[in-house]
Symmetry: C2
Amino acid sequence: MDTTQRTDQQRSAERRRRELLEAADRVVLRDGPHASMNAIAAEAGITKPILYRHFGDKGGLYAALAKRHTDALLNSLRAALDAPAERRERVEATLDTYLAAIEARPQVYRFLMHPAEGSQSDQGFDVGKHSAPLLRRMGEELAQVIEERLDLGPGSQQLARVWGHGIVGMMHAAGDWWLGERPCSRAELVKSLADLLWGRLAAAGDRVGSPGF
Amino acid sequence: MDTTQRTDQQRSAERRRRELLEAADRVVLRDGPHASMNAIAAEAGITKPILYRHFGDKGGLYAALAKRHTDALLNSLRAALDAPAERRERVEATLDTYLAAIEARPQVYRFLMHPAEGSQSDQGFDVGKHSAPLLRRMGEELAQVIEERLDLGPGSQQLARVWGHGIVGMMHAAGDWWLGERPCSRAELVKSLADLLWGRLAAAGDRVGSPGF
DNA sequence: CGTGCATGTTACTTGCGGTAACACGAGTCT
DNA sequence: AGACTCGTGTTACCGCAAGTAACATGCACG
């Protein structure tokens, strides 16, 4: 039978693919996202064309690589998001999980936000493709949780999606800035962001010099 | 005197530089951020080395190009942010201004978020550099406004910066997603985001199936 | 044995960023 | 006037990375 054959070959190919991905991971984490295919192939102990046979092109490799890390991070976030605790606690835990992840492995994080290399087309208007898939997936995921758990009245689905992407973007941008400047501890950052989401911006009083109008 | 000479030459050089920037602008808007230096030079009616004499390298050209658009956008945003109106109105006006800008010229917007090409180093850890300067500048600007206008108690400066970057990130991510999928009108998006900032997330009730516990 | 077929290689093409070397024109100094 | 400088422009090249073609090898199956 050729089915057993094929599965054997498939297994072998998948194992090989995983090895290649791990090698690529090492190189990308060492040299940054601009690592060359030659370097990755060398790290894996082989030569370029094999990479191309496995992943098509550089974009394919990077997509596969990104998927691993993205899946891992999303799993952590889901755990924090679904924990049996109060809403504020869950929000803070999720923020903290994300920030801890990007703090622990900045290169991974940087790579994930960066797949703007091997993309195709670039024709005209396909905006919204360059923003990392990680952000989109996190946004959709969060939107789903929001919509499942919160009672938002009419138009809830759309509102949840806006909020999902918005909150993820807030987390991302603040984290990016924080990682660069380290102006405060992670816990302080988490609390500040949660306060923002809890409406402290709207609740704060005006300063003396600017009375309303 | 050579001063008058020099100023003449400077004037001429600056005019030339502006012409080159406009040509580059046309090409980048037509071909996307991956436009080649050759293409830009051709559009300007000259050849590569001149571009390099004026801008150093591709990163320099892109930085100069980005600065123009960034300055323009920031001016619009400042106007909306400083308008004599209530806080909620100002926030909505600012969001709307930003979204209108990226809606009107997606390519410009895409380019501004994209200067990950001509960057240097890429050594190890300089995370926080790849995120577009536009986002950073917007974040700092907003932080300043927040800190000037709001009474946030102790630690206000730090809090304002976190919020500035966070809000800008929220606006950016939501705008990026919205521009790609167009799930609703601009006005609806603005209102949803403002609601988020006004604490509606914290105020919303739980859905039936998940009673906290 | 020969026939597939996956895996691996060397060697090449193409295209881009960046640079060196040379050429022309206009104003300046003596 | 002639030499000198200096900004502007060119052609032709280097180095490097993505991607591909063509060839080699090991191994199963008939």
